[in-house]
Every structure is written in C-alpha cells, then in structure tokens.
Amino acid sequence: MIEVVNLTKNFKNIKAVDNVNLYIEPGEIVGLLGPNGAGKSTTIALISTLIQPTAGDVLFQQQSVINNPKLLRDVLGVVPQEVALYKDLTARENLQFFGTIQKIPKGELQGRINAVLKQVGLEDDRKKLVKYYSSGMRRRLNIGAALLHKPAYLIMDEPTVGIDPQSRSYILQAIKQLNQEDKTAIIYTSHYMEEVEFLCDRLYIMDQGKIIAAGTMEEIKAILSSEKTIEIKLERHSKSFVEALTTLKLLSNIQIAEAQISFTVEKNTDFLSVILPLCEAHNIVLKGFHVKEPTLEDVFLHLTGRALRD
C-alpha cells in the first residue's frame, strides 16, 4: 500500500499541494480528479519521489520513501503528463532504452517489449520513428514505456489529453485490462469525469492543492443526494428575468447559457410552481425542462462553486 500523509509542497508563495492525505491499495484503481492547476501533477511528482515535499511523508509498506526511494521505484511505473520519449528513435528502440535502464534482464527484455507493444497496440508501427507518430500513438507508447518492468503500481498523469476519441477509448480499455489481468494498482489523474467514472473504484477530488472530497463513486455522488439539478430550455431570456430568478431563495448554483439555464434545488421542491409564473410574468416561453442525475461535475460545482472545466 502507498500512503500519502499530510503532504505539502510550496513553490515560492504558491501552495501547490496543501496537506494532502490519500492511499492506494494493491489492485485498485484510484482517480485523482481536479481542474487545471489543482496540484495533481505536483502530487504525483511527490509520490514518485521526483521532488521533495515541504512537509509530510509518502509511505510504502509503512516505510518512508522520501529518503529511501529505491523501494518504491522498483515497483512503480510513472506515465508523465507530457510525452517523454526520444522522437528520433523507433518505438522498439525507445522501449529497449527504457527497459534497459529499468535493469530488466537481457533475456526477458525482448519478450517484455513485444508484450508491451501488443498491450498498447503498436506492434505494426514498432519500426517507425516516434516523430512520425500521431499524438494518439505517442500517448500509447508513453504509457507502454512505464509498463516494461511490470510495475505493481502505476501512476498515470492525464494520459488521454489531446487525443482523438478512438485512441482514447483504446487507452481506457487497455488500462482496465491491465488492472484486471495483471492486478496493477493505478492512480489515474484526469480532469475528465467520464474517464474517472468509467475506470475508478475510488476517487479523490482535488482543488487548489487540497483534497475536497474522497470516497467511492456512490459516496461522492451522495453528497448531492439531497439535491437535484434542473435544466430548463427557453426560447430566449431577458435580463430582468434572470435577475428575478437569482433572487429566488429556492435555487442555487445557477448557470446561465444562451437558451438554457440550470440550477439545483432541494430534492422535493416543486420548482415548476415557481418557475412557470415567473416566465409568464416576464413573457418568456418555456420550451422544456429536464431533471438530471447528479454527475461528478455537479459535485465539483457544489463543492467549489466553479465548473470543473472552463
């Protein structure tokens, strides 16, 4: 088990990571969800002992790894947020290089390289220079390079950023498979909640360096169980209508778009009896409405008052 205890990292006057506590047990997939600049990558750099914490500790099997990183490094794979590969080498040569510096025995290396190429679906392109790869292929190889030594723990920092939907679902499938077949424990960082919902057993939501919520998907969504989110569709709306709407005490988290307004209300509120008269009074046509199941997005909005993505 990897445990993170009261971890803090300051950069000059920025608190990038602020008193974070989390853990990951063998074989599980844990999500780390947060908007840009939340401190996800910094947390990961701290766990993989690339940088030293300002305060707090990272424990592996109850032992601190800050001054003795070897223990953890041997069982840890890290997929960095940026593609970290030699562009003038082929996929094979890249894997050969990263495998050798992982001290994988010579006899096993070729077998491992082939297995990994298969896992990330690059067997046919193994002899191509990486600089001629598409960004999806680079991402896949970027993951592959962290799998060579069969790490028991894998940390992935936004491995699907900036790629096409096809590569993305391929990667998500591969990760799931990796977890189910090799029992690899995975920390999955993302600001896409769909990915986290699809993959993770548990998750942590991070914002401005702090963990603001933690638990299983159900537990986290239960935060919102007392509320529901309503979307109403309008032909148009006016300033005075919006103003009147915002003064209503029943509604919260009001989000206004061109022809659509969403808000949350207490679970058993009869919101229509409030909204309809208001529409009539302002001469606005209500085209429809929709009651939404809470999503992680809503949870985030509820907790921070801000949207997860801009």
Binding site: F11, K12, A45, S48, T49, L50, I51, Q52, R73, D74, L76, V78, P80, Q81, E82, V83, A84, L85, Y86, D88, L89, E93, F97, F98, T100, I101, Q102, K103, A145
Partner: protein, 361 residues
C-alpha cells in the same frame, strides 16, 4: 549507463548533419586561413645584388609572405604606416627586423636570417684571413655548400625552445578550441532537452542513479568533442601535412584538460538557463567572448588594454592555447593544466548543484 551513452550515439547517427558541418567548417576555415593571400614584407638591403638575392631565396622558404625590395627609408615608412607588418634591413654584418606588434612570425624570420648571416660572416672571416687566395676560398665555399661535410638540421622542438609561431598550426589550434565548444554544448544540451521533455524524470524513477545519468551524458559530450578534434588534427597532420613539431600524440593528450573544462562550462551554462534556445544563445555569447579574450582571434601579446588582458585569465581558451603552443618545461605546462582542471571541478560542481536545486522548486 552504457545504454544512455549508446543511445546518444545512435541519436547522433540518426542526425549527424550538424556534427559533420561543424567539422567541415573548422577544416575549411583553418585551411583557408593558412592559405590566405600572402602578406607583404618590405626589405631594404645594403648588400650587393647577388647577396640580396641569396638572402631572399632563404627567406622565401617561409612561403606565406611576399617580399619586396625597397630603399631603407621607404621600408621604414611602410612599416610605420602599417602597410607591411614587417620590414627587414640587411646590413653588411648584421640585420635589423622591425615588426608590427601583432606580427606572429618574427622568430621564424629571425631564424632564417641568422642562418644567412652565419654563413656570410664565416665567409667574410675566411676571406680576411686569407686575402691572397680569395678565388680558392670562394671555390671551397661553394663546394662546401653543395656537398657539406656534415648536415646541420635546425629543429624547432616544442619542448626545448621558445614557443613556436607557426601560422597554420596556430590557426588550427585557436579555431578548433573555439568551435569545439559548440560541439560539446550540443552534447550537453541533451540534459536540458530531456529535462524539459520529461525523459530525465523517467531516468530518475528508473533503476539507475542520478550520477550515472549525469556521467553518461557528460561522457558523451566529452567523447564527441574529443573525436572531432582528433579527426580534425589528423586531417591536418596526415592530409595537409601540417608540422606538429613531433608532438602529435602529445597534442592529442594535452587537449583533454581543456575539453573537461569545456564540458563543465557548458553544464554550468545549462544549469543557469531554462530552455534550449536560451542555452544556445548563451553558449554563443560565451564561446565568442572567451575566444576573443583567450586569444583565439589575435595574439594575447597584441592586447594593449590591461583590463582586457586581465579578463583573459577567465577564458579556458587562453589556457588551452597556452598548453598547445607549448611551454618550455613541464612546469610551465602544469600551471595551465591545473587551472583548467580546477575550473572544470568548480564549474561542474556548481552547475550540477544548481540543476538539482532547480528540479526541486
């Protein structure tokens, strides 16, 4: 560690263009500088025509000058006006050499003239001793010149005599030491590039240690620079027949401390810059100013500003050239070598430290 080194070599083979170009540029430049337009030297002679011709013939061995005969006054004027770098005045029993202060080959000219005058004085002395047999003495003399009883070879051995000023060799050393900084920098820049693209982090979380990662990269930077210099020197030694004064192998050993210092210098610069383009700009500035200060463009003896001369002490190129152009004793070599090694250790220590600090903030 060996893997890192081998991979770097593979990357070089994939993309050898810059390396080849810089090698070719150095060779071309040195070659062209060595075969520059001949510089004029003025000669004023009080000797008779035949004797003047003899002296000229001897001087023409130093082929990169163009000798023209003038009156004494005219020669003096020319050298004072800077139109010629040197004027030679040939008198009956002695000669006088007037040179501009950036003239490199006085020693060479002096050597040739000494030989001429040595013969001349000998002949005159004999003629005076035997005034009756003038014809015979002359006869014997010509005979002796055609078939000398024993050969005297003048050897300007590097380690025994004054520093040599051979133009082509000197250009070769100066320009190679200057240009090789760029080659070393291209090797060291991998560290910076890998840090920026995250490959370095992969190295750190892998099973190899930090010092292995540094050593492999620095060894690579050193090796490509060393191979380049050895290649260039060999070209000039074996193809262009440049005289290394019998110390070719020794020269190849003597460039090692200089290269170590350059590797350290470039890692230091890498540590205080953040991007590759910053690094390259900085290297360019540093290399050029060190080359100027260190006397790669002109002789340090020609520097008149005491401040600039003082600054030259911080340029590794100064010490590199000092070593290559040769001191007379081991002790004289020892000083620049130890200064270079000292600089190497200090710069490397500071550089790697700054880099490690930066990684953490």
């Amino acid at each position: 560690m060996i893997t890192i080194f081998k991979t770097k070599c593979l990357l070089l083979l994939r993309n050898p263009i810059n390396y080849i170009i810089s090698t070719v540029v150095i060779c071309l430049f040195v070659y062209l500088m060595g075969h520059q337009q001949k510089e004029p030297i003025a000669i004023a002679s009080l000797l008779n025509e035949q004797e003047t011709a003899q002296a000229l013939q001897a001087l023409q061995k130093i082929s990169y000058y163009d000798y023209s005969v003038h009156t004494e006054q005219k020669a003096q004027e020319l050298v004072e006006a800077g139109e010629v770098k040197a004027a030679i005045f040939l008198f009956d029993e002695q000669f006088r050499l007037v040179v501009a202060n950036d003239f490199m080959d006085s020693a060479l000219l002096q050597k040739e003239l000494n030989i001429v005058y040595h013969d001349r004085l000998q002949q005159t002395a004999l003629l005076q001793a035997f005034p009756a047999q003038q014809a015979q003495v002359k006869e014997i003399f010509t005979q002796a010149q055609i078939t000398p009883a024993f050969h005297i070879q003048y050897q300007n051995s590097k380690w025994e005599e004054a520093p040599i000023y051979n133009r082509q060799l000197s250009t070769l050393f100066s320009f190679s030491l200057f240009m090789v900084i760029y080659t070393t920098a291209s090797g060291v820049s991998y560290i910076l590039a890998e840090r920026n693209m995250g490959v370095w982090n992969r190295l750190i979380v892998s099973s190899i240690s930090k010092w292995q990662a540094y050593t492999a990269n620095l060894a690579y930077a050193f090796c490509i620079s060393y191979v380049q210099l050895v290649f260039i020197f060999s070209i000039f030694r074996y193809v262009a027949d440049v005289d290394f004064y019998g110390s070719f192998t020794f020269t190849l050993i003597l460039i090692i401390p200089y290269l170590l210092c350059v590797v350290a210098l470039t890692i230091f610069i890498a540590s205080i810059t953040n991007t590759i383009s910053q690094f390259n700009t900085m290297i360019m500035l540093i290399a050029i100013s060190f080359a100027m200060l260190g006397g790669a463009y002109w002789l340090l003896e020609a520097v008149s500003s005491p401040f600039i001369y003082l600054l030259s002490y911080i340029s590794p190129i100064r010490y590199g050239l000092e070593i290559l152009k040769g001191g007379s004793t081991w002790n004289e070599l020892l000083q620049p070598i130890s200064i270079l090694l000292f600089m190497a250790v200090v710069l490397m220590g500071i550089g790697i430290n700054i880099m490690e600090k930066k990684a953490d903030t």
